[in-house]
Subunit: 124 residues, 2 copies
DNA sequence: AACATGCTTAACCGAATGGTTGACTGTTAC
DNA sequence: GTAACAGTCAACCATTCGGTTAAGCATGTT
């Protein structure tokens, strides 16, 4: 196999992180979770509430988001709080920006994305 | 299952496209292919050359990039040319930009990414 | 102590992913 | 026409993924 990584694993680490981040973002449930956390930090149970899916499944999704660095979790008492870590998107952003000049940030379009992906607002 | 999509499938279509794009970007081989195509259009065989992987495998990767809209393919004679379509990243960019202000485009960092992910340059 | 809450882990399942090889279809060259 | 080239398709395989249920572990509450 070609060594796509080089530099004795350093680049590989960066590449793996990019893999993890993109893969984490490739699931609509996980993007919805991120959109929810954009509004406020949340406990695991509250994150799970709007989804018709077991708590264990959400717990797995949160683990994937954690390993991708997209969120952090902090246990206070028996509640584990989830916090968005938007910095993890910087590498992704850097990688993407090389592929062209995108139109200046379109907040309207983003609002539509957010609304469409927030599961508890889409059934009204 | 919660209807995460709404609006009679329109949003679902957008969501699916976002899924497809992120998923396509989640594989290092495919990102390397995109980086190669950033330099120039290439025939399928030439895309496959630096990878130690069958032509059929590369053909599949290219199909995935096609369906994600990240590349286009045009057959001229018996050779199929692959062309980068950076516009497909716009939706992804819009989605991402909502999560925070990233530092202004860091071209140096991007160059490093590119070099690290070009498979035929990493073994020198 | 006993119980309820918050969350993770383990075992399992079906479907999707990423790769292989081999046969096949077009297209060009001789 | 025949041979070589460019690429896809089909069948297969191992692994991963996204979900389930059930059990288990901490932490609070009474």
């Amino acid at each position: 196999m070609v060594d796509c990584y080089g530099m004795g694993g350093l680049i590989m680490h960066m590449t793996n992180r990019l893999d993890a981040t993109f893969a984490a973002l490739g699931d609509p449930t996980r993007r919805a979770i991120l959109a929810m956390l954009l509004e406020d930090d949340m406990a695991v149970t509250d994150v799970a509430e709007p989804f018709e899916m077991s708590l264990a499944a959400i717990s797995k999704h949160l683990m994937i988001l954690m390993r991708a660095g997209l969120i952090s979790q902090e246990k206070r008492g028996r509640v584990k709080w989830c916090k968005l870590e938007p910095d993890a998107l910087r590498d992704v952003s850097v990688w993407m920006q090389g592929f062209g000049q995108f139109e200046p940030v379109n907040l309207d379009a983003f609002e539509r994305f957010l609304e469409s992906e927030l599961p508890d607002e889409s059934q009204t």
